[in-house]
Structures are given as structure tokens and as C-alpha cells.
């Protein structure tokens, strides 16, 4: 598998990472996702990493880079379903992913995206 599928759900993009990330895969995802946000005018990106069991500093940084890029393209990023072991590893690596929103599962992540989109519309 050399690509991670990106699904479109309404105005949001859904990325589920089902395999262990290696560096090239992460770089490809970064490329694909940015072009997809532009092409589909998505307002939010939801990254589900509940199947991800191993992270290193590169992948950690990649996640926060993707969030940063999405923000520049006016799409909010929510990372959902992080495993306890992964969370502990990232904290120990000193990567607390400042500026990335998180939620426990896809359901709550979707609600979060929807809520922030609603809040924007209300203004």
C-alpha cells in the first residue's frame, strides 16, 4: 500500500490511517491531502489514527505539519482516536502537538468540526 485513502464527507475530509506509517507514506499523504483540500474546498480534516500503534518524532511532526498546512488553507484539523501508548510516546518525545485539535473518536471529532463550522457561520 503506497497511498492512504482520503474520503470526502460533506465539507470535511476523512483520513483513516490503517497501517503503520513510514516516512514516505507520510510525505505522500501530506501532498495528497493539501491538493485534495484545495480541489474539494474542504473546511475540515479529520485524521483517525486509532490503528496507529507506533510513532516516532518524524510522524509526530508530520501530524502537526499537516494540521498547520490545513489551517493555512482554511480547514480545521482534528486528530482522533490516539492510543494511550502513542500519546505517552509523543509527550515523552516533547511533541505535544500544540495547535492541533484532538478528540476521542470519529464521532466526537465530527461534532467538533461541525461545531466550529457552525460557530463561524453564526458570526
Amino acid at each position: 500500500m503506497d497511498r492512504i485513502p482520503i474520503l470526502k464527507m460533506g465539507r470535511f475530509l476523512l483520513v483513516t490511517i490503517q497501517v503503520d506509517m513510514h516516512d514516505q507514506l507520510a510525505l505522500t499523504l501530506q501532498d495528497d491531502l493539501t491538493s485534495r483540500i484545495v480541489a474539494s474546498q474542504a473546511r475540515g480534516v479529520l485524521i483517525d489514527i486509532s490503528s496507529l500503534e507506533i510513532v516516532d518524532s518524524f510522524i509526530g511532526r508530520m501530524i502537526s505539519n499537516i494540521a498547520g498546512m490545513a489551517r493555512v488553507l482554511d480547514a480545521e484539523t482534528v486528530v482522533v482516536g490516539m492510543q494511550p501508548a502513542v500519546a505517552i510516546t509523543l509527550v515523552e518525545l516533547g511533541l505535544s502537538l500544540e495547535g492541533v485539535r484532538t478528540a476521542l473518536n470519529v464521532d466526537k471529532g465530527m461534532l467538533l468540526l461541525q461545531a466550529s463550522l457552525d460557530a463561524e457561520g453564526a458570526q
Binding site: V86, A87, I88, V91, E92, S96, T102, L104
Partner: protein, 286 residues
């Protein structure tokens, strides 16, 4: 050189009398504790030890107690040291069990070898060496058993002292009691994150009323826990900050501005209730 043959013969020839005499010596030396162990049990143990010793002497070398021929004896001694450590014998009393065998054995050796002073000295030396080694082995095992007990208790204490409590739907509380060191933080973090996964909680309240002192290291540990919970998608509130601790935190220059802090658990609970209702729209169950 003493071969152990003489010793073995003595034991096999006079096993009954030797056993009786040994039990008497044990009683006199204070190795038997009638309050902790029944006399019949002690007799059984002593008898078994004598027969194992005899077997080992028959096949094994006297000078090589570490050899495989001696392993049944070692196993037996390890068993009784372990059980005695748990029954409440002192290490001295446990070792005396073996040492008290010297008196009756030496008396018999002296009676057996009457002619040759050199041979008697050799036999006595070899026997005393053997029994010393076996006695020390019981002390070693006794010590090890006690250390295992202490380690297990520490582990239990560690787990006991970090319960994660479900306060309300989507709200967890983590009352911390005792000093936070790295090992403890690890356990706290793991149990909190695990509970977040299980319950799907959105807010965790870390209550530090029971933490006696907060220094930079403890604060760093707290912040790590908060960061890890945030990565999982749960917010943390730190509560139970006593006035002195608030002063120390500011004096140390610890920055807790990234975390919501409250003076009491009640205040934290109130704000948690408000937040879960406002951030989760109706019908957002689970």
C-alpha cells in the same frame, strides 16, 4: 581428604537418635518456635532434611555444595526458608535450623573416629564447612523472600494509590495522594489514559490535594499527563491546589497557564459540568 562417606554412614546408621538429639538441640538453641510451628511439622522437616542430606552425601562431593547432586537439598532449604519467612521466623532462627545439626553430628564424629586425630579434624572441618554453606543459603533465600514481599507491596501501593474515578457522564477524577515521581507518573498517566479510552470521557480532573509538595519535577510530570490526555482528546483540570503550593509554583516560575486550575475539586467539577454541556450538543451521547 574427607569424602563424606563417614558422615553418610553416621547419618544412615543412627538416623533415629540423631533426629531426636537434633530436635532437642533445636529447642535448646531457640530454632524451634512452638508458637509458630507445630512440633510434628518441625520433626517432619528435620527428618526430610536428614534423608535428603544423606542422599546428597551418597552421590555428591562434600566440597562441591554448588553441584547438581545437592540441588534437592537446596530446593528443600529454599522451601523452608520461604515458608518460615512468611510464618514470621527471624533469619537467625531460620539459619539455626541448619547450624544446630552441628552439635549432634560432631559428637558422633568424635565417637566414630577415635584413633586418627588428623582424620577427625578433616571430617569436622568438612562438615562445618558444609553446614555453614547450607545455613548461609537459607539466610540468602530468607532475605530474597523478604525482598520479594517488599517489592510486591511497593507495586501494590503504587497501583492502589492511583484510582481513576468516574464522577459523572464524561467526567473523570484522579485524586492523587503521595509524592509524584517518574515511576508513579507513568502509572498515573497509563491508568488515566486507559480509563479515558474505556469511558470516552471528555474531561479529567486531576486533584492534587493529597500531594504534599510540588516542585518543578512534579509540575513537569503533571503537565506531561495533561498533554497526553489532551492528545487523546480529553481536557484536564488541575484542582486541590493549596495556598502554600500556589505560592511555591509561582516562586519556582512554573507555568501552569496552559491548564485550567481550580482551588477545590468542587469548583473543578462545576466547571467540568458546564463545559460538557456546552461543548457537546444534545444527542452527542457516546
Amino acid at each position: 581428604m574427607a569424602s563424606g562417606q563417614v558422615l553418610q554412614q553416621i547419618i544412615s546408621k543412627t538416623q533415629k537418635e540423631l533426629l531426636a538429639e537434633w530436635l532437642q538441640t533445636q529447642a535448646a538453641d531457640g530454632a524451634s518456635r512452638p508458637d509458630l510451628m507445630k512440633e510434628s511439622e518441625l520433626r517432619e522437616q528435620s527428618r526430610e532434611f536428614l534423608s535428603l542430606l544423606q542422599d546428597a552425601l551418597r552421590v555428591g562431593e562434600l566440597g562441591n555444595v554448588a553441584g547438581s547432586a545437592w540441588s534437592p537439598v537446596h530446593e528443600f532449604l529454599a522451601g523452608i526458608s520461604r515458608s518460615r519467612a512468611i510464618q514470621g521466623f527471624s533469619p537467625g532462627e531460620t539459619a539455626t535450623f541448619v547450624f544446630s545439626l552441628k552439635k549432634p553430628l560432631f559428637a558422633r564424629l568424635r565417637r566414630e573416629i577415635t584413633q586418627d586425630a588428623q582424620a577427625l579434624a578433616d571430617e569436622l572441618w568438612a562438615t562445618t564447612l558444609l553446614l555453614d554453606q547450607l545455613g548461609l543459603y537459607t539466610t540468602d533465600t530468607y532475605q530474597k523472600t523478604r525482598e520479594e514481599v517488599i517489592a510486591r507491596q511497593q507495586q501494590e501501593l503504587l497501583e492502589l494509590s492511583t484510582p481513576v474515578v468516574s464522577l459523572w457522564k464524561d467526567i473523570l477524577a484522579l485524586p492523587l495522594i503521595g509524592t509524584l515521581d517518574s515511576a508513579r507518573t507513568q502509572v498515573v498517566m497509563e491508568s488515566l489514559l486507559q480509563k479515558i479510552v474505556e469511558t470516552g470521557a471528555a474531561i479529567a480532573i486531576i486533584d492534587i490535594t493529597g500531594v504534599p509538595t510540588v516542585d518543578t519535577l512534579v509540575a513537569q510530570h503533571l503537565l506531561k499527563t495533561v498533554a497526553a490526555a489532551r492528545l487523546m482528546g480529553a481536557d484536564c483540570i488541575i484542582s486541590g491546589i493549596r495556598p502554600q503550593i500556589a505560592q511555591t509554583i509561582v516562586h519556582l516560575g512554573v507555568d501552569l497557564s496552559a491548564v485550567t486550575t481550580k482551588a477545590t475539586l468542587a469548583d473543578a467539577f462545576l466547571i467540568a459540568l458546564k463545559r460538557t454541556q456546552s461543548t457537546l450538543p444534545k444527542g452527542a451521547a457516546g
